[in-house]
């Protein structure tokens, strides 16, 4: 047990990423505010990135550096997703004055 605390291995990073991902999933499933759901999605993307880097490091291979490229692309996609998602949130708020996904059950307002 003490070795599990003091010897940080790859498993620790993977567990951390998994827990972050789970929290993100819980946020998407449980919360109703569209903003919080977007944040939870960002959390999940980050957790996936941590997993990528941990595995890349674990394989220690030069070719595994492609995980860095992959992670950078994921960050860029996350930024694009946040921009478009938040724009949609603002547009929806303008039309309905609330951003709770449970109340957004019609296409027109």
């Amino acid at each position: 047990m003490t070795s599990l605390v003091w010897n940080i291995g790859y498993g620790h990073f993977l567990v951390l990423a998994a827990v972050l991902f789970l929290i993100g999933v819980a946020g998407v499933l449980v919360r109703r505010n569209a903003l919080i759901i977007l944040m939870s999605v960002e959390l999940m993307l980050n957790a996936a990135n941590v997993t990528l880097i941990a595995f890349s490091r674990m394989w220690g291979d030069k070719a595994a550096l492609s995980a860095h490229t992959f992670a950078l692309i994921v960050i860029a996609v996350a930024a694009a997703e946040a921009a478009v998602g938040l724009a949609i949130v603002v547009a929806v708020f303008r039309g309905r004055h609330n951003v709770e996904v449970d109340r957004l059950n019609t296409l027109r307002h």
Binding site: N7, V19, L29, R32, V50, W59, A82, A87, V99
Partner: protein
């Protein structure tokens, strides 16, 4: 009620999917004896044999010789071997050894990297736990807070913790990008939108009843427990390669007839290494990402722009009505 059902189904599905995972995870032999390819430079077969007897599982052998000299007759005298160095993984730790010239005896051992991720001992372990706790606490903040600004700040804390975690995985460049893009740009975007909306949430968490909450909580705890049990066992396929990764390393940059003709000094995760990969094999995705970002900017502006007939018309009426 439907939300509870959806949540429970998703969690149980995940648990069921994980239930079958241990069988696959047990395939990998974990008896501590890894067959490590010996990369020897400048060592004779005799020395390699001696070293392997003295240090089972040694790799990265290197024999340093005094400089070769050429005498007047043009004969090359290669120097005798001065020092033999080798690395070995002992109990998951990488240790560098210095051996006598014949490779039979260990002179000194240098605890280069005290564990597999290259962190050094308990201080680094404490830092890992601190940053892991920060990122998880921030994530919990995001999911539980009613106040949206508090949620955004929790998200920023989580991202900063993740940046530190990247640093521990030797991904320095990615850590900096993480701080700039997430804790900088995306945070500002979220804060702006929260300020624009400026509306407290009436119903933060779905009402699901005591039984549903307890069941869901238990299922999530079980799921996390299973994940920890499986993932903590994860070992690198070759601890020798993994442990040696952070060091400055020669990387081949030019090949000719499957032989390396030029090497360069790289460090794993540095800007040079990441840039070489990004602008080499990753060039097409890199260019595609720029188009995606352009489209996202245009799309965001197009979507968020106020509709003309809704917002402009009342304003016109007002100006006309004003004296």
């Amino acid at each position: 009620m439907t939300r509870t059902l959806i949540l429970l189904t998703a969690v149980l599905g995940l648990v069921a999917a994980l239930g079958s995972a241990p069988a696959a995870a047990q395939d990998a032999p974990d008896d501590g004896t890894q067959v490590v390819p010996v990369a020897a430079s400048g060592c004779t077969a005799e020395i390699i044999g001696n070293v392997q007897q003295a240090l089972p599982g040694a790799f990265h052998l290197s024999c340093q010789k005094s400089r070769a000299s050429t005498d007047a007759a043009g004969r090359v005298h290669t120097g005798s071997v001065d020092a033999v160095r080798a690395d070995a993984v002992v109990n998951g730790k990488l240790i560098s050894y210095e051996l006598t010239a014949d490779g039979k005896r260990v002179i000194a051992s240098i605890d280069d990297h005290s564990d597999l991720i290259g962190s050094s001992g308990k201080g680094m372990a404490l830092l890992f736990w601190a940053f892991a706790a920060a990122s998880i606490a921030g994530a919990l903040f995001v999911v539980t807070r009613k106040n949206l600004i508090a949620a955004v700040m929790g998200m920023v804390g989580s991202f900063l913790g993740i940046a530190a975690i990247y640093m521990m995985l030797y991904a320095q460049f990615l850590a900096v990008v993480q701080m700039l893009v997430y804790a900088g740009a995306i945070m500002v975007l979220f804060v702006f939108v929260v300020m624009i909306l400026n509306r407290p949430e009436d119903e933060p968490v779905a009402p699901s009843g005591r039984a549903g909450q307890v069941l869901g909580g238990l299922a999530i705890l079980y799921l996390i427990g299973r994940l920890v049990m499986i993932l903590v066992q994860v070992q690198p396929p070759d601890p020798a390669i993994a442990a040696a990764a952070p060091r400055g390393d020669e990387q081949c940059v030019a090949w000719k007839e499957s032989k390396c003709v030029r090497t360069e000094h790289y460090e794993w995760g540095s800007i040079t290494a990441v840039g070489t990969d990004l602008f080499g094999p990753g060039l097409f995705p890199f260019e595609a990402i720029s188009i995606l970002l352009l489209l996202a900017v245009v799309g965001a502006v197009a979507v968020a722009r106020p509709l003309r007939e809704e917002n402009d018309a009342p304003a016109k009426v007002r100006t006309e009505g004003a004296p």
